[in-house]
């Protein structure tokens, strides 16, 4: 049973409880009717989860495990079959719960007939960004996502990655406290992916909460404080990234390549202290790092020429 919500009077002031949950899911279950005879598909199964405020939270799982469904329930787009969901303490069925939330849907698709700038401005006005700050704010977020050059073009002409970027701009334009990104890097090039990672970390530094789903586990590992893994709608693992993947009993040392003799000396030195050298590996540049470096160099050359 979900616990009864505490009466408002008993809630201490915000400063006294730094670790309020931005999202609280209690026994969340979502069934979809599929087939003719009332057959139900359980997309999310009794999910209890807290997304703490101010953290980056990764929701992981294979295709069809219920990540997007969970997000839609959080946004009030779907009604839970069982259980409750609160966003900053407000039940997600209420319009007020969406006040401080920015959302990038998976494979986003926007009003094709608007230009990128008109689109972001429309959403900004819907979210009540004051008119005085509207133009500046719209320009700012479009610049963040690197679309300044294409802002005047129709959204219908955008490439997949550009749609993701404009989607990110509309999610951020009203400066929300909680940002929900459903596969923000799908279809985005590695440069864009790295930029999105950097943006997520910057949002975190500003004290925002980010909920992200992605199949790029390396990226999740880099940016997330906590993760939860779903499988067929069930929570199978949750915890901080450090505690789940960190190994406190091992260290890796990086040195210039040693000649064989010196390596033997090192082994002897360690053996004298009752320790062993477990592995000697040739580190390789990760492909994404190589890609980023080469692209940066090529762009630099082009700017130098022009």
């Amino acid at each position: 049973m979900p616990p009864a919500p505490a009466p408002p009077a008993a809630v201490p002031p915000a400063s006294a409880r730094p670790a309020t949950a931005a999202i609280e899911l209690r026994g969340l279950t979502k069934d979809f009717p599929v087939g003719l005879r009332g057959v139900k598909l359980r997309a999310v199964d009794n999910l209890t989860l807290d997304v703490p405020a101010g953290q980056v939270f990764g929701l992981l799982g294979p295709n069809g495990s219920g990540k997007s469904t969970t997000i839609k329930v959080i946004l009030g787009l779907l009604e839970p079959t069982l259980g409750t969901c609160r966003v900053f303490g407000v039940p997600s069925g209420q319009v007020a719960s969406r006040r401080n939330v920015g959302y990038l849907p998976e494979s986003p698709y926007f009003y094709r007939y608007l230009s990128g700038e008109e689109l972001v401005r429309f959403y900004a006005r819907v979210c009540g960004v004051p008119r005085a700050r509207l133009a500046a704010r719209v320009g700012e977020v479009i610049e963040w996502v690197g679309l300044t050059g294409a802002a005047g073009r129709r959204v219908g002409t955008y490439s997949k990655g550009m749609l993701q970027r404009i989607g990110l701009a509309q999610a951020l334009v009203h400066d929300p406290r909680l940002i929900i990104l459903d596969e923000p890097t799908a279809g985005v090039d590695p440069v864009g992916s790295a930029e999105i990672s950097a943006m997520i970390l910057r949002l975190k530094a500003e004290g925002k909460t980010v909920l992200i789903t992605s199949h790029l586990l390396a990226q999740i590992e880099d940016v997330c404080d906590r993760i939860a893994i779903l499988d067929r709608g069930r929570l199978i693992l949750a915890g901080t990234v450090a505690e789940l993947v960190g190994r406190r009993d091992r260290q890796a040392l990086l040195v210039e390549t040693l000649p064989e003799a010196e390596l033997a000396e090192l082994r002897a030195w360690l053996a004298a202290r009752g320790r062993t050298l477990e592995a000697v590996e040739q580190p390789r540049t990760r492909l994404d790092q190589l890609f980023l470096r080469e692209i940066a160099r090529s762009e630099g050359q082009r700017e130098g020429r022009s």
């Binding site: 969406r98 006040r99 608007l114 429309f122 819907v126």
Partner: protein, 283 residues
Amino acid sequence: MSAPDQRVPFSYARLALIAGNTFLEAVRQKLFNLMLLLAVGLVASVQAFRAFNFGSSELKFIFDYGLGALVFFGSALTVTATAQLFFSEIESRTALTLLAKPVWRTEFIFGKLLGVWAVVGVFCALVTGLLIGLIAYREHALMAANPEMFTGAGRPVPYGDIVIVGVLQWLKFGVLAAATLLIASFSNTNLYTVIVGFFVLVICHLQYIAVEAYAHLTSLPLRVLVATLSHVFPNFQVFNLAEQIGPDSGVDGLVALRVAAYALTYIFVLGGLAVYSFRQREI
């Protein structure tokens, strides 16, 4: 921080924004180009009939012809545009992004309704304006050709009444748009909505026949049933005040006002039902 008093009040500004965006979609989909084409077709076809020279009854003919075009194309436009502008949001999943913002579903539905109604309003204004222009042009020409036909009564064409007829048709289309939106709010496809929308249109136009035919019924349950149905479906015949236009009579202003109130009532009730049904919908 998590202040429970952070309410989001219903906002006419957001409603207007959604309506404006819907209107813009119609504009950028070149819907108005199509209307312009229709209007040109109207003028050209009236010009073709001129060869017959109907005398002063020619003016009445132009009026009836134009009104017929307004009713026919306006109805088709209302049903299809409402369904299309609603389902473009659902099918391209833009409703997902919009409703994930602090937006009331009431604002969404009435925003859509207002946007469509504005589009249809432009169409009505265009056709009515064109009709008045055509009639005035022919009236002028006929007066010059045989002035003896026009003695006595002065200007025989009641232009004000034509405008009223145009406005009443627009109100009727508002009711039709609200009914179509109600159908769209629970149906899954655009096509289904359009087909059911046209059925409703026909029922609304013809229901008065059923009501008259069953007026003499003695069985109380049947009478109640017919009366109920005649209220569920608005009677589109009441918008047809064109017969009242003539040299001696004119459109009764009070009747026109009552018809307008009738239309607005239906628009709000049907719109409210659409909101109710849309609230249950999973996006």
